[in-house]
Amino acid sequence: MNAHRVPATFVSFDGAVSASGVCQRPDRYRFIDAPDPDLAPRIARGGGYSYAAASFGAGSVVQDMRRFNRILGFDPAARIIEVEAGVTLGDVFAVASREGLGLPVQPGYPAITVGGCIAANVHGKNPVREGTFVDSVLDLTLFHPDRGVLRLSPDTMPGLFDLTCGGYGLTGVIVSATLRLEVLPGHVVSIRRFTVGSPGEALPLVRELAGKSLFAYSWHDGAPASGTFGRGFVYQGCLVPETPARPAVLPAYRVLTPAARARLPFSVWGGMATRAFTSTYWHAERRRPETTETSLFDAMFPFARRAAYFRLFGRPGLAECQILIAHDGAEAFLTELRRLILSIRPPSVMLSVKAFDGTPRLLRFDGRGVAITLDLGRSAATLDLLRRVDELTIAAGGRPHVIKDSRLPRDVVAACYAQYEAFRSGRHQFDPHRCYRSELSERLGL
């Protein structure tokens, strides 16, 4: 017997891709690994926070894994936690922080699931210090209908482990994982702010601070106005040591779903509204003390209680592009990006920079350099800009983040990821029937 299939409509978090299909919400193991006579393609889904349509589409049965949300083991002394794939980062935070521990890599929203983090190999606020999510995965359990239940780790079936971490759910359903935790000697984060005139000015500061901080990233005014574009701040976060670990009650926040994000029928961002907001933010930040303290939860999950930012993009949706550029090409890239934005004048809102220090592999967003992130409202000008950014990225030898951009064309990904073909052939070798498919896998020809 398999889980019921019910009709459902899915939408990507950026609001650009939607599809109707059927959804299963398995709540017991036999619904995951029982033989399924139906050979329809399928794809697993977690919180649904991917900007790209990685967890639905292509006529696939969506397997919503959020009921697989149990913590299976926790060993504070060994600093490891074993969780089912539907456990959220907030769940892990609530349990681990009681013992002064935490996941090294934390994307900014607590309702994101561990399965999603593995499938997209997400990064946190400081990839220089902490790497990407795969670096925290000690082992994982994968189910594939033709292969059964498989236990993978960097030592056991390492090739398949590599394909699965950052494999966008295309090798099977991630059922559970054992994760490495790190010591967090405090629950208060001191945040120091540095004012900068441009993203280029932020680059050396971000590079310098990343190696010696909990996090270091920048925020820049993205409104397309030549006088103010790019001004901003670099934020350096450091744990305040010896603040005693306390029982962490997860602060209340209203979970934002992709459908709820798009409830507003119009986008607030664009033109004067963006300029007014970014200018107000910039002035307000400058009036605050240079160093402030915040809770670890708010520092790790800044969007938990600032979800309004995403809601204001409304039904038209948002677009985000995130490009990893080698250090020596970053400044030139930023200069050209500024020129493009000021000439095309899309409804861009903000720009951000953070440093990376990893090794590129398959389709993972990793490498050595800086990640440049641009948030925009969705419009014809935005799509025009993003096409130009694609060309710029290829020319600069950069790498766009597949999970952040729902329109990224196959040829751009193939040109930017040297191991695109290796991923594709590895995936086909493991799963010749391509049991797992999504809009993303079809768009990128995977």
């Binding site: 019910v6 919400r25 398995p26 709540d27 017991r28 193991y29 036999r30 149990r70 083991g73 769940d91």
Partner: protein, 244 residues
Amino acid sequence: MTYVIVGASAGVGRALATRFASAGHDLLLVASEDRDLRATAADLAIRHGVRARWMAADAGADRMCAERIATAADELGGFDGVLFPIGAVAATDDCGFDPDQSARLVDVNFSAVAAITTRLLPHLLTRPRATIVGFGSVAATRGRGKNVAYSAAKRALASFFESLRHACAGSGVAVQFYVLGYMDTELAAGVRSPIPKGDPRALGDLILKNLDRDVGVVYYPWFWRALSVALRGVPWSLFKRLRF
């Protein structure tokens, strides 16, 4: 306090286990699927710091189930209540009257609950306060051509709990019977109805609030009480034409 939950691996049972553990109660979880039980027990112990034991048993088939539960519960140092969110339905439970299937549905939905309750009642009567919670279904409001054996078993269970409540009146044992409408669980995932589904977590809150109280029969969601009265009032000449 310590509670036994029979049928704890998924759906309403798992939601109740989570809510009771979050209130600090130790638990003995019983269900047929050991992988899910093990995972749920581990999760509750880690998140809430309670003792969560588990016992895999097919209550509808294992004749020694009641005895095994009693032994396991004794090992916990006694218990203060037992909840029965156990149930089974079958898509083919219509008027085909497959005798094996019908017997199985009656065993799971009624006989097992009655047997376990009977075995555990003497212990509960020794406690200063205790609670027994059974679960019926609005599907048993009137007999239909669907869920035939299931509805019959749930009606038998309602009668059993009515008798049990009467027998325990004046003791410290509160006997409660919750009649559930469509719940937002896998069991009702295929049900397409304009009537809103109940939230298992909110049901857990309600049961926790009502512990040890003589609340008798409670409908959840609450509006099902009125709907059930209305359904009972539909004349046969009209009812026989309804297809639901």
